[in-house]
C-alpha cells in the first residue's frame, strides 16, 4: 500500500515537471500554431541563470526573478530575430527555425556558462514530508503548486481577458485579427515573452529536483511535448492533465512492471490515445477550410 502511494507521489512530482514544460508550449502554439522546440531551452536558461546569479551572491528570490526576466527577453529576441523575418513562411518552416534556435541557445549556454551540472538549494529545505509511509520532498509541492497556478493563470488569460482572446484570434486568422484592430506583431512578441517566462519559471522550480546543465532542455522539451500532445496541444487543461498522466504512467510502470519499459509504455499509451483521439484528450477538433 505504501509502495503504491510512493509511486503515485513520484508520478505526480515528475508529472508536474512535464506539465510545467507543456504549459509553456501553449501560448506560442495558440498565437501562431508553431510548436516551439526551443521551449526546453527556456527551462534550461531559467535554471542556469538562477544558478549563476545565485552563485554571484544575489539572494535566491531575486536571482529567480532576474532569470525569468532575462529569459523573457531571450524569447522576445528569438521572435524578433528569427521568426519575424520569416513571417509568411509555412508553419513547418517556423518549427524548423525553433529547432535551429534551440541548438543555438544550447551552444551559447555551453560557452557562456559551462558544461557542468548545477543545483541551488530547495526553497523549503530537503526534509521529506511523510504521508502514510510514503515520502515527498517540499520542492515537489512547489513544482505541483507552480504547475496548478500557471494553469489557472493561463486559463483565466485565454477565457477572461481581451488580450488572451486577441492571442487566440491571431492564431485563428492573422489577417482577420488585423482587420478588427489587433496588433498581431505585438501579440506574437507578448506570446514569446510569456512562454519564455513560464519556461524559465519551470526551470527555477524544478532545478532543485532535476538539476540543471546546458543540455537538459532537449529531454525536458521532448517529455513536455509528449504531455502536451497527449492532453491536446494549446489547451492549458490538456497540458496539466497530460503532464500528470505521463508522470503517473511512468512511475506506475517502473513500480509494477519494469523500469526498463517505463518510457516505452508511456509512449505506447500516448500513441493509442492519439489513434482514437487525434486531437489529444482536450484538444478542439478543427475542420480545415479548403
Amino acid at each position: 500500500m505504501d509502495a503504491l502511494l510512493q509511486f503515485l507521489l513520484s508520478g505526480v512530482t515528475v508529472g508536474a515537471v512535464y506539465a510545467l514544460v507543456a504549459l509553456g508550449f501553449t501560448i506560442i502554439y495558440n498565437a501562431s500554431d508553431v510548436v516551439n522546440f526551443a521551449q526546453g531551452e527556456f527551462v534550461m536558461l531559467g535554471g542556469m541563470i538562477t544558478v549563476f546569479t545565485y552563485q554571484a551572491g544575489l539572494p535566491l528570490p531575486l536571482a529567480a526573478v532576474l532569470a525569468i526576466a532575462i529569459t523573457s527577453l531571450v524569447g522576445v529576441a528569438l521572435n524578433k530575430l528569427a521568426l519575424e523575418p520569416a513571417r509568411g513562411a509555412p508553419v513547418v518552416s517556423l518549427i524548423i527555425i525553433t529547432i535551429g534556435a534551440s541548438i543555438f541557445i544550447r551552444g551559447a549556454a555551453q560557452l557562456i556558462f559551462d558544461k557542468q551540472l548545477h543545483r541551488f538549494p530547495s526553497f523549503s529545505g530537503d526534509q521529506p514530508i511523510h504521508i502514510f509511509g510514503a515520502t515527498i520532498v517540499p520542492q515537489s509541492l512547489w513544482v505541483i503548486g507552480g504547475a496548478v497556478l500557471v494553469f489557472i493563470g493561463l486559463w483565466l488569460f485565454f477565457t477572461k481577458t481581451l488580450t488572451g482572446k486577441a492571442v487566440l484570434a491571431t492564431a485563428n486568422n492573422r489577417l482577420a485579427a488585423q482587420l478588427v484592430g489587433i496588433n498581431t506583431g505585438w501579440v506574437m512578441t507578448l506570446s514569446f515573452a510569456l512562454s519564455a517566462a513560464i519556461g524559465a519559471l519551470a526551470g527555477v522550480l524544478v532545478t532543485p529536483i532535476t538539476l540543471v546543465g546546458y543540455d537538459v532542455g532537449v529531454g525536458l522539451a521532448l517529455k513536455g511535448f509528449a504531455a502536451a500532445m497527449l492532453g491536446g496541444m494549446g489547451n492549458p487543461k490538456g497540458a496539466l492533465v497530460g503532464g500528470i498522466s505521463l508522470g503517473l504512467l511512468e512511475a506506475l510502470t517502473a513500480g509494477y512492471l519494469s523500469s526498463q519499459y517505463k518510457d516505452a509504455v508511456a509512449f505506447i499509451v500516448i500513441l493509442a490515445v492519439l489513434f482514437v483521439m487525434p486531437q489529444g484528450l482536450f484538444g478542439k477538433s478543427t475542420t480545415e477550410r479548403v
Binding site: F7, P128, L211, D263
Partner: protein
C-alpha cells in the same frame, strides 16, 4: 609584464620546436570537441602540456617531440581518416588517442595494419582483450570498478544486492560487466532496475529495491545527474542500506549535487588523482598525482579530471618507451610491452605480452563520503 615575458618566451619555445623540424613524431587523435569533449578536451590539453614540458627539458635523448594532434569530434569515421593520415602523411612513430571506444576501434585497425604502437584512452575491455600486438590502453575497465566494489562488499559480508543503473552508454556497459562478474564474488543481484539519463525521480525503482527481501546494499552504475538524484531519493525514502556509486561520479561536484547529508556514507571506487590531497605521503602515486595536478591546474585554471590523467599516463609510458626504443616503432612497442612498475596517476602499470592494460585492482582506491569530503577506506 612578467607574465607577458613568460608567454612570449614560451611562444618562442613552441615556435622554435616546430621550426626545428623535431625528430620524434608523436600522433594523437582525440575527441576535443563534440559529445565526448568532456573526455577529449582535458586529454588534448594534458598531451599538449606534457609535450611542451618534455621539449623544454631537452626532449628525449636530445631529440624533440613533434606532436601532431587532430580533433576527431568523437566520430569514428573521422578518427579512421586521421589515423590513416597520421601513419601515411605525417609518418608518426606512435599514436595516442581514441577518447571513446568507438574512435579507438577505428584507430586500432589502422595502427595494427601500419605496425605503429598505439595507446588508447578508452574504457572498453574489448580494446585489449584479446590482446592486439600494437595496442595498449591506460584507463581501467568498468569490470575492474565492479570487481573493486564487489570485493569491498565481500569484506563487509554483503552477498545480496539491488542494482539501479542508468541506460546511457556508461551505465549500461557497467551494468552488464557487473552482472557478469558478480558470481565470482558470490554476489547475488536480487533486483535490477534502470532509469533514463534525464529522469527526474527514481523513488519507484528504489521503493522496489527496498521492498525486495534480503537486499543488503544498493549499487548504482551511472554518470551525470542520475547518481546524484538516486542518492537524494534514497535519503528521501530513508532507505538504510549502504549505497555504492561508480567511478563515473568520483568528483567533488557529485557531493555538491547530491548534498552532503544525502551523500554521507556513499562508497565508490576512485583514482588517486581525485584524492591527491588526502593520500598518505607513503603512497607511491602521491608525487606523480600532485605534480600533474599542480601543473595542469596552474596552466589551465580548471580542476584535473580522471580522463586527463589517462592521457598523462599514456604520454609518460610512450615517452619512457621512446627513451629506450628510440624512434623506431617496433622498438618502441617492445619497450612499451616490457614496462614494469611505472607509477602513473591512474595506477601502477606492468605490461606483459598477455596484458596490455597492466593495471590491477589496486589502481582503484575505495572512497567513502564523510562530512561532505572524501575518506580513504583502504
Amino acid at each position: 609584464m612578467k607574465l607577458l615575458m613568460t608567454t612570449a618566451v614560451s611562444a618562442l619555445v613552441v615556435l622554435g620546436t616546430t621550426a626545428a623540424m623535431a625528430d620524434i613524431k608523436l600522433g594523437a587523435s582525440l575527441s576535443a570537441s563534440g559529445p565526448a569533449a568532456f573526455l577529449g578536451d582535458p586529454e588534448a590539453k594534458t598531451i599538449e602540456m606534457m609535450v611542451e614540458q618534455i621539449n623544454e627539458a631537452g626532449g628525449i635523448n636530445g631529440e624533440k617531440i613533434d606532436l601532431v594532434l587532430y580533433d576527431d569530434g568523437g566520430d569514428p569515421n573521422k578518427a579512421r581518416t586521421f589515423a590513416t593520415r597520421l601513419v601515411e602523411d605525417d609518418e608518426v612513430v606512435a599514436i595516442i588517442g581514441g577518447s571513446t571506444t568507438g574512435t579507438t576501434m577505428s584507430i586500432l585497425s589502422v595502427a595494427e595494419d601500419a605496425e605503429v604502437p598505439f595507446i588508447s584512452l578508452a574504457g572498453a575491455i574489448q580494446i585489449i582483450d584479446p590482446v592486439h600486438k600494437w595496442v595498449f590502453k591506460t584507463p581501467h575497465t568498468d569490470r575492474m570498478a565492479c570487481e573493486k566494489i564487489f570485493s569491498d562488499m565481500q569484506q563487509k559480508g554483503i552477498t545480496k544486492i539491488g542494482m539501479i543503473s542508468g541506460t546511457d552508454g556508461f551505465g549500461a556497459s557497467m551494468q552488464a560487466q557487473c552482472k557478469d562478474v558478480a558470481p565470482k564474488y558470490a554476489i547475488e543481484i536480487l533486483s535490477d532496475e534502470t532509469y533514463g539519463p534525464q529522469d527526474a525521480d527514481m523513488t519507484p525503482q528504489l521503493t522496489k529495491i527496498r521492498n525486495t527481501d534480503g537486499v543488503q546494499a544498493i549499487l548504482n552504475p551511472g554518470f551525470g545527474q542520475g547518481p546524484a538524484i538516486v542518492t537524494r531519493n534514497k535519503a528521501q525514502l530513508g532507505i538504510d542500506l549502504p549505497l555504492y556509486e561508480s567511478h563515473g561520479v568520483a568528483s567533488d561536484g557529485f557531493i555538491e549535487l547530491a548534498g552532503a547529508a544525502a551523500a554521507e556514507g556513499v562508497r565508490l571506487p576512485g583514482t588517486a588523482l581525485l584524492v591527491a590531497a588526502i593520500l598518505p605521503d607513503s603512497d607511491p602515486q602521491k608525487p606523480v598525482v600532485t605534480a600533474y595536478k599542480t601543473a595542469y591546474e596552474a596552466k589551465y585554471g580548471e580542476t584535473v579530471s580522471t580522463f586527463g590523467g589517462y592521457a598523462h599516463d599514456a604520454v609518460d609510458l610512450m615517452t619512457n618507451a621512446m627513451k629506450t626504443g628510440g624512434s623506431d616503432p617496433a622498438a618502441i612497442r617492445d619497450a612499451l610491452e616490457a614496462t614494469q612498475g611505472y607509477v602513473g596517476t591512474t595506477g601502477i602499470y606492468s605490461f606483459s605480452p598477455e596484458d596490455h592494460l597492466g593495471l590491477d585492482l589496486s589502481a582503484f582506491k575505495m572512497l567513502e563520503i564523510r562530512d561532505g569530503g572524501w575518506t580513504l577506506i583502504d
